[in-house]
Symmetry: C2
C-alpha cells in the first residue's frame, strides 16, 4: 500500500465519522429548545438526553485517544451515569448545543492530524499487556465504535418525526 | 505503513462489521417467531421488518461490491421498496432467519478475502468518472456505511425490551 492508499483509508474512515456527526447536528439543529424535551418514543429518552449523552461520550474520547483532558466531565452525571429523568434540572440548552458543536469540531480536528501509525496505536482503555495480544484494540477501533454508537442513536432520533 | 499495519487496519474494520452483525443476530435469535411481529415502538416497524430489511440491504452489497449476483432479490418488494405493512403476507419466518445468517456469512467470508487494494477499489454504484474525482467512494466506504446502517437499526431494536 503506497502513501496515497494509506491516506485514502484514513480519509474514508474520517468522512464516515464526519457524516454521522453532521446528520446528528442537523437533527438537533432542527429542534427548538422546547422540542428537544420530546421523547424519541413514548416512555423513552428525550432528544435532549441524547444530545447530552452523545456530547459526553464524544468528550470521553479525548483521554481514551490520548488527545488531552476532557472538556465537559460534568455531563456524565446527568447523561451517562444516570438514565433520563425529566424531573432533574438541565443545564442551559444553549450551552449543551454549543458543547456538542465545539466538542466535535475539536475532536475531528485532532483526528484529522493523525498519521497512519497513530491510528493503530494503543488507546488508554486497554493495558499494554492486553494490547500486545489484541492489537486491534487501537485508536481506529475507538473511532469506528463511537461512529457506530452515534449511528445507533441516530436510528432512535429518526423515530421522532417532526 | 508496513504489511502488518495494513492488515491491522483491515482486521479492525472487519471486526467492527462482524460485531454489529453478531449483536443483531443475538437480538433476532432472542425473539420467538411470534415476538418478531412486535413493533419496536408504538406504530413503528416490526422487528421482522428490520430482519428482512437488513437481510435485503446486506444482500444488495454483493453486486455493489463486485462480489456476484444477489441471492434474495425478492426481499426488496416487502422490505426495501415498501414500508412495513402488517396486512401483507410474510415469507416463512424460518426462511428469513436462515437468509440473514447465510447472507452475512457469505458476505463476511468474501470481505475477509480482500487485499488492501481491493478495499479501495471503485464500487459499482459510482461511475468511473465520478470515482476519479472522489476516490473515497470506494468499497471500504460501502462497508463502513452499511455497518453504520446496521448500528442505526440496532439502536431502534434496543427500544423493545423483552
Amino acid at each position: 500500500m503506497d502513501k496515497i492508499q494509506q491516506d485514502l483509508f484514513i480519509t474514508t474512515i474520517l468522512s464516515n465519522w464526519e457524516l454521522a456527526v453532521k446528520r446528528a447536528s442537523k437533527i438537533f439543529d432542527g429542534y427548538s429548545d422546547e422540542e428537544l424535551l420530546l421523547p424519541i418514543a413514548p416512555g423513552k429518552n428525550r432528544v435532549v438526553y441524547l444530545l447530552g449523552h452523545l456530547t459526553a461520550v464524544h468528550d470521553r474520547m479525548l483521554p481514551v485517544l490520548g488527545l488531552g483532558e476532557r472538556k465537559y466531565p460534568q455531563l456524565d452525571e446527568l447523561f451517562v451515569s444516570n438514565p433520563d429523568n425529566p424531573a432533574t434540572t438541565l443545564p442551559p440548552i444553549a450551552e449543551l448545543r454549543s458543547q456538542w458543536t465545539t466538542g466535535n469540531a475539536l475532536l475531528t480536528e485532532k483526528l484529522s492530524a493523525w498519521t497512519p501509525g497513530e491510528w493503530l496505536e494503543r488507546h488508554t482503555a486497554v493495558s499494554a499487556e492486553d494490547f500486545a495480544k489484541e492489537p486491534h484494540r487501537n485508536k481506529l477501533n475507538i473511532v469506528l465504535n463511537r461512529t457506530g454508537h452515534l449511528s445507533y442513536h441516530l436510528g432512535q432520533l429518526a423515530l421522532l418525526k417532526k
